[in-house]
Structure formats: C-alpha cells, structure tokens
C-alpha cells in the first residue's frame, strides 16, 4: 500500500476513535414500544383492569386466603376489595371540597350523555388498547378508548399555552427500566375514582386544574405485562397524594379501530346504581 493510503487509513482510524470517545453513550431505556391491551386473565390483574391500589390488592389477597370466602362468588370478593380501597384508602385522602362532588349518577356522565371523550385523569386508566411509540425526542401514546393520542416530550419543554387542556402537558424521562412522565396543565374534569372493576359505585368525583400526575411505566419481569404506577396530587381534591396502579398485557396482534359510532342515548334512567 502506498504512503498516501497508509496515512489516510491511520487518519480514519484516529477519527473513528475520537468520534467514539466524544459521543456520549446513550442511557439505557426500557423498550415499551408496541401494542398493549387488557390485562392477563388473572384474579389480581383483572382487579387492576381500570385501576387498583395496594390497599385493595391486599384486601383481595386476604379474602382469597380466608376459607370463609370460598363459597362467595369472586365478583363478591371484588366488591369487598373495591369497597375497602374506596373507604379505607381513597375517602380519607379526599378534601371536604372533593367529597361534595362524589356520587355522580352515571346517567349524567358526559361521556354517556354527550359522547364527550374522557379527560386525562380517566383516559390514562382506560381499558383495552394502549399503543406506545418511543422516539428520540418524545413518546407517542394512543388509547383504544376514544382513540385519544398524547405526546410526552423528552426535552423538558414548557407547555405551548398557559391554558389547561383535556390531556394536559406531559414531559418525561427514563429512570432505569422505567419511563417516568410528569403531567400538569390539565383541565378540571371527572376523576378516575368511579371507574373500576367493579366500579365502587356510587363514588365518582372531580379533580381541579391543580392536578399533577406522575406516571411510571415499566415491563413486568417476564416482559409480558406493562405496569403503571400513577401518583396523583391535587391540593383541591386530595389531602395527600393518591397512588393508583394498572396493568396491560402485551398484545402485538391487536389494532386500534376507529371510534366513530358513538350515539347519544335515546333512553336511560337516573338513580339506577346501588346506594
């Protein structure tokens, strides 16, 4: 090889070494990209199909271990566990202001009456599909329910507008094996308390524009489930933060189909929920 060729090759090697040395190693991040859907058909996961709490799961576990519960249908155990997490975990954390707004009749839910899509606080606990796409500068999420999309910015940017929006403003970062999202600037709306499996009726409620939510998403040890831990803070509604959990199952074969046939109800009756 001629001298020019040797020099060129050496220069190229040095350049590559310098390039590698100067480029910061990309921090490891979990691979959450893909389609997720309703949780595995397991007792605990099903209880967390919408949301659950550690308190509710502990009560469910105790009921399942109690021989006195063996003759009760599993639906009855769900009701007991849901009631426990409502009365022993959620209710003591509610402010007096928030307690005045519990007990929404489902016939008055704007999602039912007006086909109005859910706001952020309910949508992140929506059942069925959740599609996640991780990019360099952002994460895109789309929910099957209402086909609502949201963007989580990874550059820490401020909201484009000072006005709160239905899905708020989300920024995120990776923390080890978790995607952590902070959302604020959320328009006051219905809270997720009334959703559940089964719903602990009658116990719906509202949140204020002061709501801030930290979502922490990670994969289960076997990689087949997506776990959410959501910490919700709202000085108007909550005396202290509330932590809700949720589970999805890896569902690569599923798709999000159009959500365009919502019809306002032509017949309904108020006061039909158990008091």
């Amino acid at each position: 090889m001629c001298e020019v060729g040797r020099s060129f090759r050496r220069a190229l090697q040095i350049s590559l070494i310098l390039l590698c040395a100067c480029t910061p190693a990309e921090a490891p991040k979990p691979n959450l990209t893909g389609m997720w859907s309703d949780p595995p058909a397991k007792i605990a996961d099903t209880f967390c199909m919408f949301w659950c709490t550690d308190a509710g799961l502990a009560r469910l576990d105790a009921l399942l271990d109690d021989p006195a519960s063996d003759e009760k249908p599993i639906a009855a155990l769900y009701v007991l566990a849901a009631t426990a997490q409502r009365d022993e975990y959620l209710r003591p954390r509610f402010t007096d202001a928030a307690l005045q707004y519990t007990g929404l009749d489902p016939a008055d839910d704007p999602g039912f009456l007006e086909c109005e899509p859910w706001g952020f606080a309910r949508e992140i606990f929506a059942p069925h599909q959740l599609k996640i796409e991780q990019m360099t500068d952002r994460v895109e999420m789309q929910y099957g329910e209402w086909t609502i999309r949201r963007t989580i910015y990874l550059d820490g940017r401020e909201p484009a507008s000072a006005s709160p929006t239905a899905m708020g403003h989300s920024v995120g970062h990776y923390d080890g094996e978790a995607l952590v999202i902070e959302t604020s600037s959320i328009r006051a709306n219905l809270a997720p308390w009334g959703l559940g499996f089964p719903s602990p009726w009658p116990f719906d409620g509202r949140h204020s524009e002061q709501l801030r939510v930290q979502e922490r998403y990670s994969r289960s040890a076997d990689g087949e489930s997506l776990l959410l831990t959501a910490t919700m803070e709202d000085p108007w509604a909550l005396r202290e933060p509330v932590v809700l959990k949720k589970v999805w199952q890896w569902a690569p074969d599923q798709e999000i189909s159009p959500y365009e046939s919502c019809e306002k109800p032509t017949e309904f009756t108020r006061g039909t929920i158990p008091k």
Partner: protein, 153 residues
C-alpha cells in the same frame, strides 16, 4: 357449592363484568338491568362491528305472526376482538337465540350476554372466557391452601 348459588354467582359476575365493559364509554346501569336476563329468538337483520359499541338488530316474531325488531348492544369492537370476534362473526339472515340484560323500561333492547346459533354453537363475550380463567385460578388457590393445611401437623 350447590347448583343454585353457583347460578347466582355466575349471574352476579356477568352483571358486574357487563357493567364494567360498558362503563368505559357508555354507562350500563342507566339503560340496562344487570340483575335480569331475557332470551329472544329471531333472524339477524344487521350487525355493526364498531366502537364504542357493536350493535345488532334481530327480527323477532310473536305467536300471532307480528315481527318486532330488537336491538342488541355489545361491548365495543376494541373489547370483542379480545374474545375473537370479527366482522363476520354473525351473518345477516342467520337465525339465532340471544340472551341479554333487558332495559329498565322494557323496550325491545338487550345488552349482549350470549348468542346460540342454529347449529348449537355459542358466541360469548370476552367476559365469559375471562370468568372461566379466574374461576380456575381460584380453584387452584383453594386446593393449594387446603393441601398446605393438611400437611401442617
């Protein structure tokens, strides 16, 4: 567990699962009575496999020969695909028997629980397969507990 409580148990969880499936977008309780089921037989005249709720119409003749059109409301396409449903799961012109929760007002409308085809095959919702798995897990858990207790001196 004898037969009667088991039937009540199944009806209870079906009602709760119906409510949960429907609560995602449309409230179930204001329209349907989850504590009751009604059965109709007739011919499918339409099937829309859409969100937020799939719907079907069924022409149901009475003994005098009059035909009433019933509407069957399902969970949404998003939910039904989890139970293996497709656009072609039910064909127009097919004769079926439908079990569902009636409305509070007694109008010709049901919330779907189960369909039995003329050849006897059964179409269920996602709740039926989930219920079966949950009951199986619970049975195993009880067996494990009883087995551990029997080994304890």
């Amino acid at each position: 567990m004898n037969t009667e409580p088991r039937v009540i148990a199944i009806l209870a969880i079906l009602a709760l699962l119906s409510a949960s499936a429907a609560h995602a977008h449309h409230a179930f309780a204001p329209v349907y009575d989850g504590s009751k089921t009604v059965e109709i037989q007739g011919v499918v005249t339409s099937f829309k496999f859409v969100n937020p709720h799939a719907t079907m119409t069924v022409d149901v003749p009475d003994p005098a020969g009059n035909v009433a059109t019933w509407t069957i409301e399902f969970a949404g396409r998003l939910n039904l695909v989890n139970a293996g449903w497709t656009d072609d799961s039910v064909a127009v012109g097919e004769r079926i028997r439908v079990t569902g929760n009636p409305t509070h007002t007694g109008s010709p409308r049901l919330f779907f629980v189960e369909i039995v085809r003329e050849n006897g095959t059964v179409l269920g919702g996602v709740r039926a397969s989930r219920l079966s798995a949950l009951e199986e897990e619970r049975k195993q858990r009880i067996q494990q507990r009883e087995s551990a207790a029997s080994k304890t001196p």
